[in-house]
């Protein structure tokens, strides 16, 4: 098997010394973490390694020697000295890595490899350079085969390249000491920069604890108020479950409690989620404030209130026309006159009721709208869901029409289908959920046929009413649906993760990629290992926040089926509740 040496790019220009790292026997790879410079005292090196080992639970060792020959210095003595070091730090295999002639030529020897004595010539060695900083900071996203996202905090027995990532992440302590630190052992490895800014970070860390405590106390108070008995009285929970504003407010409250919970985030995934929630809240409120400012500046609310009542009137007027048209001979269809008149009058009366209701409301509209506008400072999503609720309330008559039409139509379709079965001498067996054959009496057959005929002839009239009102209803549902889509988008967009992917692509790693560096015959193969960033679609998929609505998603075919059989389409939850 080929021996692989993972070597950090930041150490390529380091002085000669010892290689410190971890040996992964299953992969037959050596992960070099740092270079120890001369002079050192062997016992201190061993102490340092033991300390890091204890902190990170990772088996570190001195893997070999590193020789960096600048220019054409004859370094015969050094070479022999380095060979001698192998006797002090025993390790199998013992690596001898050498960079010669101004850095263009690399050579690597592995003593005591391959392990089995019977093997022929020394096995080939492969040098793989990696960027220590990127590997340390990146979070490896294992491919989608692992369903559990919590698998990110790798268990000790990780295979393959994950082992390299794991090793680097666990020996973080080794990188703490910086360049100017006067320690007993001089190391060369990646150095973090920006010590100054970390004061601010420390301050923020100190302050965050009490802030979180206070805010979470306030939030718990709020939720305690929400949970009090008064709100458990009958109509309130029902209304709350129907209003999308309440849903959205509850959702946001959940976000806030999650954000300010005093517990520390355990895994990087959870931490990322917290930050994402924070940014999504921030964006939401910022957008809401912008909307509020715009509304105030343009005096839109007044205009809106003035326009609302005429618009509602106008809609009612149009509906009346539509009904009148239906009561005549719509599109030249000849309908059952009596039924047509009854239905038309019924709906007309409804519209009349509705108009008087709107006129009763008209003095208060501006005040209501004004308060709705204020709610935008809680976030754009709240304002949008309020808007959706208002639309729902203003088009309540359309909803009613739809429900009446659908119920009638549904009744008709079911009646027709069961009479059709009777016609063929079959019946629906409820116990076994299947169609059985059955012999009917003559009377039964006669009555059934009679009813079937009546239903068939009345079907077109009802179907037309149903069709028209369903189309109206679908229009309203489409408007509301697009509003909800917008809300969901703001609610669930992982802003921070996307930003991180944009600015620091290496932080979210999907894997690695290799590039072959120029190769000379007889020398070890050199590869450059780079982080392969996660694609945007996967970032969004992985870190998407759960959206608030638990609305079941209907497929198009299911929707069409429901429409055809006259089942109610939009407030599905209502139906589920009835079945319970």
């Amino acid at each position: 098997m080929v021996l692989k040496v993972f070597f950090p790019t930041c150490c390529t220009s380091a002085e000669s010394g010892l290689l410190v790292g971890r040996w992964v026997p299953e992969q037959s790879s050596a992960v070099v973490l740092a270079v120890v410079h001369f002079p050192f005292i062997p016992i201190q090196v061993k102490e340092l390694l033991a300390r890091v080992q204890q902190a990170g639970r990772v088996g570190l060792a001195v893997l070999g020697t590193w020789c960096h020959c600048r220019l054409q210095e004859p370094e015969e003595g050094l070479g022999r000295f380095l060979e001698g070091l192998g006797a002090i730090f025993t390790h199998e295999p013992w690596l001898q890595l050498c960079r010669e002639r101004g850095g263009s030529v690399w050579s690597c020897k592995a003593l005591g490899w391959p392990m089995s004595p019977g093997a022929p010539s020394p096995a080939p060695v492969m040098l793989i350079f990696y960027d220590q900083r990127h590997v340390l900071l990146s979070q490896l996203h294992t491919p989608a085969t692992l369903p559990d996202p919590q698998a990110g905090d790798a268990p000790p027995s990780v295979g393959g390249l994950a082992a390299v990532f794991d090793t680097v992440a666990r020996s973080e302590l080794l990188f703490r000491s910086d360049r100017f630190h006067e320690g007993p052992v001089q190391l060369s490895h990646w150095q973090s920069e920006g010590i100054e800014a970390s004061i601010l970070v420390e301050l923020a860390k100190q302050a965050s604890g009490p802030t979180c405590l206070m805010l979470s106390f306030l939030l718990s108070l709020l939720s305690a108020v929400g949970a009090c008995r008064l709100f458990r009285l009958w109509p309130l929970p029902f209304i709350c479950s129907k209003l999308s504003t309440c849903e959205q407010a509850r959702h946001r409250l959940g976000h806030l409690t999650f954000l300010f919970s005093p517990r520390k985030a355990e895994s990087p995934v959870q931490l990322m989620r917290k930050v994402n929630v924070f940014f999504s809240l921030l964006l939401d409120v910022a957008l809401g404030l912008a909307l509020l400012a715009w509304l105030r500046a343009e005096n839109c609310i007044g205009q809106l209130a003035d326009a609302l009542v005429p618009v509602a009137d106008c809609v009612a007027e149009e509906l009346q026309h539509l009904l009148q048209w239906l009561m005549g001979a719509p599109a030249g269809l000849k309908m059952n006159r009596a039924l047509d008149q009854v239905l038309g009058r019924f709906f007309l009366y409804h519209i009349h009721l509705w108009i008087s209701y709107i006129h009763l409301m008209s003095p208060f509209v501006e005040g209501i709208l004004w308060h709705v506008g204020l709610s935008a400072c809680l976030g754009l999503t709240v304002a949008l869901s309020l808007l959706s609720d208002i639309i729902a309330l203003l088009t309540f008559h359309i909803y009613c029409f739809y429900v009446y039409g659908a119920r009638l139509y549904c009744l008709k379709i079911h009646g027709l289908s069961s009479l059709w079965r009777l016609f063929r001498g079959k019946k629906w067996n409820v116990l076994r959920q299947r169609v059985d054959s059955c012999s009917y009496d003559l009377d039964q057959l006669f009555i059934g046929t009679l009813l079937f005929t009546i239903l068939v002839f009345l079907l077109p009239t009802i179907a037309l009413y149903y069709l028209v009102f369903t189309l109206l209803r679908l229009l309203v549902v489409a408007v509301q649906g697009s509003l909800h889509l917008l809300i969901d988008l703001i609610n669930s967009l992982p802003l921070y993760s996307v930003g991180l992917r944009l600015c620091r692509p290496y932080r979210l790693a999907a894997g690695v990629k290799f590039r072959v560096l120029d190769h000379e015959a007889g020398k070890p193969l050199r590869l450059l290992m780079q982080i392969n960033p996660l694609s945007y679609s996967r970032v969004v998929c992985t870190y998407r926040l759960p959206s608030c609505g638990c609305r079941p998603r209907l497929s198009w075919s299911a929707l069409c089926r429901k429409l055809f059989f006259g089942e109610l389409i939009y407030p599905w939850r209502q139906k589920a509740g009835k079945q319970d």
């Binding site: 098997m1 492969m126 390249l161 894997g511 072959v516 590869l527």
Partner: protein, 188 residues
């Protein structure tokens, strides 16, 4: 060590296969399609603009013309960035893994690296594609739960779709490396 040979894809187009042998344990195969030809680009642009001009004479609305320009530009950008793949590379490194890279005409590269531990084998398989039955090279991945099972089939050179002779060439080389892996992994 590098050489280049010319093959054809299943529709008769020209494909160039570059083979680079970096070392006995590391080989690279690079299939490049012909670049976007000026002729087809001109043809498509002209046809879109002519259609837009015809609509313009019909409706006398200049928005159509500007829309046509935008559509052409955006379409070209989208085509170069998301659709047109110029080069597909298979890099196989013994005991490390297999890397598949496809470079788009705009310079975007998408890379997948499969660790050798997950690779079960590389094979040539047959599939029904559109109205054709074609051969394709694919990598079989091991199922982590079941040692002899296959969890996934990763097709290689999915865009170029070379013919069988080219696939056999690549297949042989890959099998040499895989055979080496098997020989060493069983000997100790």
């Amino acid at each position: 060590m590098e050489d280049e040979r010319v093959f054809s894809d299943i529709c008769g187009g020209r494909l160039a296969l570059q083979r680079r042998h970096y070392s006995p344990s590391c080989r690279e195969f690079c299939l490049s399609c012909p670049r976007l030809s000026l002729r087809s680009l001109t043809a498509v642009t002209c046809s879109v603009w002519l259609a837009a001009y015809a609509l313009f004479t019909l409706f006398e609305n200049s928005v159509i013309l500007s829309a046509a320009i935008f559509i052409t530009l955006l379409g070209l950008l989208g085509y170069l960035h998301f659709v047109k793949i110029d080069q597909e590379t298979l890099l196989i490194i013994d005991s490390l893994g297999i890397q598949l890279t496809s470079s788009y005409a705009s310079g975007k590269e998408s890379t997948t690296f499969i660790e050798m531990g997950k690779v079960k084998d590389i094979i040539i398989n047959e599939a029904i594609y559109m109205q054709k039955v074609i051969y394709y090279l694919c990598i079989l991945l091991k199922d982590p739960l079941e040692p002899h099972g296959i969890s996934q089939v990763v097709p290689v050179f999915q865009n170029a779709k070379p013919r069988l002779d080219c696939l056999i060439e690549v297949y042989r080389s890959c099998q040499e490396i895989l055979a080496h892996r098997k020989a060493t992994s069983t000997s100790p």
